[in-house]
Symmetry: D2
């Protein structure tokens, strides 16, 4: 039920171009169902978070991201609307949340941060309550004590930090001017998934009605590299949807309508999102289920995650039933399939958009 968005640009972008102005931003999507399949309700009104790295290298600003989060619906948040118009960044994570677990609280808002690291999750760990104690006893004190809220996602981030630590890296101190390096982050996220799989198996042994898979779309960055997984602990089901788009510029071609401009095959702008943010089908590439996406120096890499849930035969289809039942599937629909395509969602129902001045 959650949605997320990642922006990585050669140049900084005004946050409003990602969050508040596009008709299909994850915020406006959060009350517009058109890009979701029909029988899903579009509510993601339970909280919002955006994290961004400051564009210039200013030692006074530190190397960690700035996070703004709220427990009120994003579409009505005046502070967000104003900050988005006045803030630029070349590395942005944004997350709209529907509370599947954990009460409404700022401590439960994504993205989560730890020094230079930032993390978010789209999906859910199946039967998390059964493995929570294992998690608690597995981790080093500092990551166990890091957890402030009540979500599986925050625990997953703590586990990721502990995994980095177990791989010999201190997550509070990036190794160099380019951060931890994409290999290290990828390894730690794969280790995180491995632990969750193992404990999940141990906890469900013999429990026949415990066949629900975990949906583990994780995104993590150190401000330099970005790693995003599209993963499910199942051989037959699809993971929560994940797409990316690259181009030379993300432009507003008419009010509220954005598209990816692609000149010279440049990847100056990379967007990764739980669902397409534009109507151009060709703008978006679907990340295959159970693979891992890497952004390194404005280049996108895709690797399969080849474990027991990997399907070697590409002709064997996966069902989207489970992910759909969790509101986590977003097929690319044709714009003409919908009426009023050119009317932004608020206007279409006679609501006034937040006006920032006057």
């Amino acid at each position: 039920m959650c949605r997320f968005l990642i922006f990585k640009g050669r140049d900084p972008i005004l946050l409003a171009h990602l969050l508040t102005r596009p008709e299909h931003s994850i915020i406006n999507q959060s009350y517009d169902s058109r890009l979701r399949i029909d029988n899903r309700r579009p509510i993601n009104g339970d909280g919002f978070g955006v994290g961004y790295y400051t564009p210039e290298a200013d030692p006074e600003l530190g190397d960690g991201p700035c996070v703004f989060c709220a427990t009120t619906p994003a579409w009505n948040n005046l502070n967000l609307a104003r900050l988005a118009e006045k803030t630029k960044s070349s590395m942005v994570f944004a997350h709209v949340r529907a509370s599947t677990a954990g009460v409404l609280s700022e401590t439960n808002c994504h993205p989560f941060t730890f020094h230079s690291l930032m993390f978010m999750h789209n999906g859910q760990i199946a039967n998390f309550h059964r493995m929570k104690r294992k998690l608690a006893s597995h981790m080093k004190d500092e990551y166990f004590l890091y957890v402030q809220g009540g979500t599986d996602s925050e625990w997953a981030f703590a586990l990721f930090l502990d995994s980095l630590d177990k791989l010999g890296v201190d997550p509070s101190k990036p190794a160099g001017v380019n951060g931890f390096g994409h290999e290290m982050i990828r390894n730690a996220i794969l280790l995180t998934i491995q632990y969750i799989k193992d404990w999940s198996k141990q906890c469900s042994e013999g429990d026949t009605d415990n066949e629900e898979p975990s949906l583990l779309n994780f995104a993590v960055t150190d401000g330099h590299s970005v790693i995003v997984t599209r993963y499910i602990t199942s051989r037959t089901e699809e993971a929560a949807s994940l797409h990316f788009s690259t181009g030379s510029k993300f432009i507003e071609y008419e009010p509220g309508q954005y598209k990816m401009e692609r000149r010279d095959r440049r990847q100056d702008v990379i967007l990764v999102a739980s669902e397409p943010l534009t109507f151009e089908r060709s703008d978006w590439v679907t990340v295959p289920t159970n693979s891992i996406l890497t952004i390194n120096n404005q280049t996108v890499l895709l690797h399969p995650i080849m474990d027991e849930f990997y399907q070697t035969d590409p002709s064997v289809p996966r069902s989207s039933n489970f992910a759909a039942s969790r509101g986590l599937v977003s097929p690319i629909v044709e714009p003409q399939a919908s009426t009023n395509v050119n009317l932004p969602p608020l206007e279409r129902e006679g609501r006034r958009r937040l006006s920032i001045t006057v």
Copy 2:
């Protein structure tokens, strides 16, 4: 885009039976679109208010209602969930709000109260900003100063109070043990509508693109009588939808599913709502456009509002286009037209319902 609900019972009802437990409560409707027409989005996540009179006549409790309101989505409000399980009342107003005007603020939450009076509005005053100054100069100081927020609805309530005053009644002092009497309240609400119509006409004179009608579904009570209008300043359009239901008891026949029990034609329970709260078509009577509903001593009366917008020929149909464009039409749909009818909306999408203990 707003929804409201009125309960008047011979006996007090647990608020949870109205607000949080029914699958089709106005709160759960606020993220379930099934009872709305298809192309409307179901979001009413911008605030919530419930007002209720305490059941016993205890002088220490006073004669005014208690109001609880919130600017966070109702479906996620722990305080509301807990209060609803522990509070009973025989006279309840509830309102779910989508901000068409006025920022998100507790001062903009319905119902509004003034001593023993309580008021809410579903709809909007067309071109309100043009008549705001007229309103300000028309009213007595005490009602002008009553307004704290920025909504047309709160101004309409202040105008209603001023209208009561102009009819010779002090709205801060109910006349007797039975309140102001339903005639007086009805007259004041009709006078309120009259002023709005007049000023609307004056403000739009010559303005050809100012043909948008006002949607004036008002509900007001003094704790004894209830007056509800279904009204639009148009001869050809339908007003925002309004329905009522009467019976001997509002019962939960299976978890989350309620119906009106009707034995012996008793009207021990009266519900008035912007949309039907149960799937039984026969449970609900549609209030005709441009009429006024009165509840007096557990009896429902309907009167037409016979002015220039009244349509004497009942065979002349009104269009529901305008009200629908504002998200204010709620046809009674067949339950079988929808899948998963028996699954409450949160469970259907894998969300956990707020659990109050543990």
Copy 3:
């Protein structure tokens, strides 16, 4: 820095008489320093909670308390102001919080509840982060999973529930019409303290700068009996302050000024509070450090907690330095020592009190 208040009456009291109307309610205290020692700042603006049992035995209302809590300052909470004027109860817990640990979140607001049980804490567990993992591994799953927030107090409540369980009682099912019985609750709270002491000792072994004691003023009720401790893990320091008062009625003798009326030695009203709520010194009895107070059938009992921190020689004084450094000492001051005694705190500084109607 927190404050709490307990009311147990033969008859229900309007919550406003406890919370919002008295000049010295814990809310108004929360920005009036007069009853605190001078160099303490009076801020308890970080959240508020009130829990109350509904007065009548109505099966539909259940046997658990209703809790209303907020993360905004209590003195500005319109919902609280309105509910307090419309709600009566004969068993009330109220808590004003300053965040010594745990971020501002409704999940961190006292009182905490579990079925019929309600709990709050004034003080703090020293070096809680060192024993958190022990707590996590000690408890049964259901109490481990009960914890939603990040405070030592919520963990202490979970430990109390687990202690009840270890004593052979299911905390989700009260034994009879009179609840668990005061002996059982007292034993469970003493066991809770014993665990915290033991783990604290284990965690601090050899750590010379870890001499800070824990302040464990706990209050717990099942709706029938009330148990309150005044306890510190030290032989030389005083615990956080605790007082009680009994009488026939808690009356407002002039606006905003309350006193305990005492006729015929009746104990129709029992108040327990972290600080005196009236200026009458003789109204209040100080609970000795390291003792446990029981309310059973409108009778107050005091027992010493005789462990290694008990001081058998009453002539040996304890220092109030540590508790004072935590803002947890509240000597009974003379009203004449202060100017403007008769002016309520808001009025004294020209602030308007929340007006509920108009």
Copy 4:
């Protein structure tokens, strides 16, 4: 009861140096009474706002300020703590509010903005409710409709905008690259004060108990010039306190302790504040009652406001009783007069400062 702060620098400053890190920032002052006179309570927990202009001239960022405001206490606001560590500006307005009028709502938070203009108020308009209708009928529609909330301060800003308009300037369009010019803004603010004085007089005529003066400390900027008044409608009372400080740098000489560095008489940094932010008495100049301060190109100018309330004889003292009764006097106290000077207010009472990462 409110406090405000203005920063104007040749270079941008990290907001944390103004807002969250200094022991004597207006936020930390808001729960530390030392710099106030003794019998005042230090609460300003009712809301907070900060407005800043983005440092670079980037057309995409527009010429208006960014405003972040909150209705929860500033000292507990995680978003503020994080933004302050990641945001720099050379023109900052900050305001801490205690609600003397107007409910707690984001619409009532200062600073208020209108296109490139930003405004805040420390004080209150006496008997504002009596002149509200005059204000409403005096202003042009667009400024009348600008008002969203319920405070005298927001109305005062609308009146200022209308006054600019009456002086022939469109407040939505700055005249040139240097804004409106300090003369124009000063004239408009003086006209605003004139109107308030006149209406106040008209409204109080013959009302003998209506002798309470208005406290009109206004601050306004267009991003270039800053105008601040210290004004009271009285010949015998002092206005709310106002101070300024200039220097070459505002530096942290030890953790939490700041001072103004002054080399070469440069005015690279200008601070204006309702109370001194450092303990160095010589850092701060008191603005005389009934005068107007101008910042133009890093230069501070002071002019008297010579009207019927001007006291030509400087030897005639004003009383500070009225302003003190409103909590609006802040004498410069000696640091040695207080214990624990070097301990920041949160630490002194054992509270944890908000930790942003980990």
